[in-house]
């Protein structure tokens, strides 16, 4: 313990002693958050939104991402952009609505106007502005990099960053497993849920891919499934099976497992009703036809919780949630969560998907609030950090063979990446 306490590092991996420790200062210190802004959120690919949120030309949404305020839009030709939502004139936020459809954006302060490609489009009379003004210096600022993978759009504020494809590394295979649910593609359903959690953002990164807490924290959810007669324990019916985790590179990780709950695509359980059984089984057969027995069953039956470093979660469980979160203080984050479903999904199945989502997920679900309680409880416990200063993330370190999904190796992947980025910064390294 003494060596850990006196270590200047905040992430300590001691393989010989099979101990992995994270300093609680990483969750409480304003200087750490400031360094995270520079070393992580200014340099990693950060999730912006999904293509389906701006389906038509001239659609736009505004969104806070990586500590910025952005406009995510499709111009009149359908090209997607990410602009910094600030007027190049005096700084006012140009777009104040959450979403809409417009060929132009007009700042209400002095009326500077921009077209959907961000170009300055006001025509002031002669004598007001010189030629230079119209040649780019009064255009909306753009996020330095904007790329997408299978309709998931990301921005990067480091213009020299590796490509999104290289950054996502092994996570692409698991995005595919979600994007392949429907041949027509996937879409965000309705608007998202946005809420505050009074805990450090990294606690939610850990929690979102943590199977270890499942039974202790969510016993009331499993009681609910039991009470409905919907706890289905048979898995698959094919030779595919999974119960483990995968290090996807660059701090991304996923756990994959046979789960007891129903899945709209495509695992029927009794509470869904006999009337939907044939339909859901047909979707399952369709997947097997498209991808073969193994991959088809894998998509239909198995659940996956994935963290894409630093702050994107895609959990393909009893429904699919896309979740991102951003700190504004060491002990506070804003969470944005959406439901993802098949494009053009049948009305009854869509209803079922949303019903399923809410049984577990979100501020009114039977599980998410207890996660929040756990996270906030951790944050409160850190008040004792001068005496008890380290978190333990060692579960599974002595295991021979591949890690189990309820080990903590996936969190160690996150923390190793965090340590690397925090100690490799152009700004003060603190880890």
């Amino acid at each position: 313990m003494d060596t850990l306490l006196s270590s200047p590092q905040m992430v300590v991996e001691d393989r010989a002693r099979q101990l992995f420790r994270v300093s609680r200062r990483a969750f409480t210190d304003e200087a750490v958050l400031e360094a995270e802004r520079h070393n992580i959120f200014d340099r990693c690919w950060v999730y912006l939104g999904h293509s389906s949120e701006i389906p038509n030309n001239c659609d736009f949404i505004t969104r806070a991402v990586a500590g910025r305020e952005l406009i995510f839009n499709r111009d009149h030709k359908g090209v997607v952009h990410a602009f910094l939502n600030t007027c190049p004139h005096r700084g006012a936020m140009v777009v104040r609505e959450k979403k809409g459809n417009s060929r132009a954006f007009r700042c209400f302060y002095h009326g500077w106007t921009f077209d959907g490609t961000g170009r300055f489009a006001s025509r002031f009379g002669e004598g007001n502005y010189g030629k230079e003004h119209y040649s780019g210096c009064a255009d909306l600022g753009q996020a330095p990099r904007l790329e997408n993978y299978r309709d998931f759009w990301f921005v990067n504020f480091d213009k020299n960053a590796v490509s999104l494809s290289d950054y996502l590394a092994g996570a692409k295979e698991y995005i595919d497993l979600v994007a392949d649910h429907a041949e027509a593609g996937m879409e965000i359903v309705g608007s998202g849920q946005q809420y505050i959690v009074n805990a450090n953002w990294k606690l939610l990164a850990e929690n979102s891919i943590d199977a270890f807490h499942g039974f202790p924290v969510h016993s009331t959810y499993f009681d609910y499934l039991k009470s409905l007669g919907s706890l289905r324990s048979d898995a698959g019916g094919s030779n595919f099976s999974a119960s483990g985790m995968h290090d996807l590179g660059n701090g991304h990780a996923v756990i994959e497992y046979a789960s007891p709950w129903g899945r709209p695509v495509a695992r029927w359980v009794p509470s869904m009703g006999e009337d939907k059984r044939a339909h859901i089984e047909a979707l399952r057969s369709e997947l097997i036809k498209r991808f073969g027995e193994q991959r088809g069953t894998r998509i239909a039956e198995f659940s996956r919780n994935m963290l894409i470093f630093p702050n994107l979660v895609i959990n393909d469980i009893m429904a699919i949630t896309v979740r991102t979160f951003m700190p504004d203080r060491p002990n506070r984050m804003t969470v944005s969560a959406w439901a993802l479903g098949a494009r053009g999904e049948d009305h009854d199945l869509r209803k079922l998907r949303l019903f399923n989502f809410l049984e577990f997920l979100g501020p009114g679900g039977f599980a998410t609030p207890d996660d929040q309680e756990a996270l906030e409880n951790c944050q409160r416990g850190y008040i004792n950090m001068r005496e008890v200063g380290w978190n333990d993330i060692s579960k599974g370190m002595p295991r021979n063979g591949p890690p189990m999904n309820d080990d903590e190796e996936q969190m160690r992947c996150f923390w190793r990446q965090w340590r690397e980025r925090m100690s490799d910064g152009r700004m003060g390294a603190v880890a």
């Binding site: 809420y195 009331t220 009470s227 809410l358 009114g364």
Partner: protein, 173 residues
């Protein structure tokens, strides 16, 4: 049918009296929630009733079949929500928060077959470990006034906030 229409007329002809009785009923509901008598609260609902909290800021009348709500319970899941809240393992409400439910602006907006459409404003305070959460908005009910005691056939709590600042919706607001 005729008897029903007669009752409906009787109710309608005494609109202010009916509103008073509905207000009393809603005060009873609020008191049961304040006191954590949630099983008794659930007994106020008619079989087949629904309980919903729609998404914030969505125009019109959102449908839980096409929009992502915060809560969209059918009768069975509402029962299960109540069962869950009675357990110590509903960690977010252990130890239990303290609550106070305020309602005002009670109006009957429709009456048909003894079933009243009722709306009211609400403010609900939830306190736990020194943090006070405030929820506010409008409740929209369908209340069967043709039975004694009245029964709630549907309750929809429309949040008037622009974001879910408290983060959780673990109590019944």
């Amino acid at each position: 049918m005729n008897a029903d229409a007669g009752m409906s007329r009787r109710l309608a002809s005494d609109a202010s009296g009916l509103r008073g009785r509905i207000e009393d009923f809603l005060y009873l509901e609020a008191d049961l929630l304040d006191e954590w008598k949630i099983e008794e609260w659930f007994a106020l609902f008619a079989e087949g009733a629904t309980y919903e909290v729609p998404p914030i800021g969505e125009a019109g009348e959102p449908d839980p079949a096409t929009s992502l709500f915060y809560i969209a319970d059918d009768y069975v899941r509402l029962r299960e929500r109540v069962v869950r809240l009675t357990k110590k393992e509903a960690h977010s409400e252990f130890p239990r928060s303290q609550q106070r439910h305020m309602i005002s602006n009670v109006r009957i907006t429709g009456l048909s077959g003894g079933v009243a459409d009722v709306s009211c404003n609400f403010v609900t305070y939830r306190a736990k470990r020194g943090v006070v959460d405030t929820y506010y908005g409008k409740h929209v009910y369908r209340i069967d006034c043709g039975v004694e005691p009245f029964k709630i056939k549907a309750k929809r709590s429309i949040l008037g906030m622009d974001m879910l600042y408290p983060g959780k919706l673990t109590i019944i607001i």
